[in-house]
Subunit: 201 residues, 2 copies
């Protein structure tokens, strides 16, 4: 059986990443890896669904056990990707989507050069600003911080394999599926197919 | 303006390459490069459509002028791809499909590493044999020669970027379009998009 494909998926806040992944998982067969964190669960967040919530001690124990594909500390909390959330699924032949921020993505790409990495950008910074404002949940100051962060991240998009512009959701999702379909057609994975074709030659 | 994409397209005889290209050109915007040859035109073949038919002298003059991207001699005749059939279109931003046999394809890939190369295989050698027999135009001996040639070519398919199995025509054509869509989303081509996105950041 073929191993699954590891997909690194990043997008600045406000690019519609969540909606895209929801659509992708509705129409495709992917496992979305659940991250681990030491921050407190917010209202409505469920352990094992949104995150694996852990104490500092638990997280640090897992670090010592080399249980993470990557991890980092932000704002006094740990965030990380458990190897079990990736490899157990890949081994079973399931494609795994790793929704991850840029720095973590770079680490994963280094450790797993075979991963397919996709970066989603908004159609423009002005559109990103508009979308963030529309949410109405953040002050103008926070929005400008987000916009500035996003600009910095977008400048790193060339480190990824593919860049998708999320202007119309359906197009962006179809871009994603085209990438996945093409990746599976790469000649480097065709060995089994070729052997099968050449049988009884 | 972006340059067009050079697409190297190969398939053994009997893989439905002709039908695939017809479908691809019906639904997509591609220029199919016309080869040059010194062999005689067969009944129904039109100069400039099926081939550019040339005399040995004309062909050799063009060789001296470095007018070919690649050329080779088979069965006492020359066959080649004129640079003008490729670069004039790429410069205008048109994607060019180069339908070419394996040896020529290798030369083109070496000279143009940016070319996207696609190899089409039949679902099985037995199916290829069946298709060739169904045509009813060749003797069993010639068919077995074709099958043996095809096997040799298929073994080289790993030199290409992508391998498409032409089992059901529509799926194979959609595979092709997925590859083209994904190729255009590669981060290496996203520079202009990223600059546009970051405008007014």
């Amino acid at each position: 059986m073929n191993k699954g494909m590891l997909i690194v998926f990043s997008a600045p806040s406000g690019c519609g990443k969540g909606t895209m992944i929801k659509e992708i998982c509705k129409h495709g067969n992917y496992y979305c890896s659940v991250s681990a964190t030491t921050r407190d669960a917010r209202k409505g967040e469920v352990d094992g669904v949104n995150y694996y919530f852990m104490s500092d001690e638990e997280f640090e124990q897992k670090i010592r056990e080399n249980a993470f594909l990557e991890y980092a500390g932000y704002c006094k909390h740990y965030y990380g990707t458990l190897l079990s959330e990736v490899d157990d699924y890949l081994e079973k032949g399931t494609d795994v989507i790793l929704e991850i921020e840029v720095q973590g993505a770079m680490k994963v790409m280094e450790k797993r050069p075979e991963a397919v990495s996709v970066f989603v950008v908004p159609p423009s910074i002005n559109e990103l600003r508009r979308r963030l404002k529309k949410r109405g949940t953040e002050t103008d100051e926070v929005i400008e911080e987000r916009v500035s962060e996003a600009s910095g991240e977008i400048a790193l998009s060339e480190k990824y394999d593919y860049v998708i512009v999320n202007d119309a959701l359906e197009d962006a999702v179809n871009d994603f599926f085209a990438i996945m379909r093409a990746e599976k057609l790469k000649a480097e994975f065709s060995g089994d197919i070729i052997n099968e074709v050449l049988k009884n030659a």
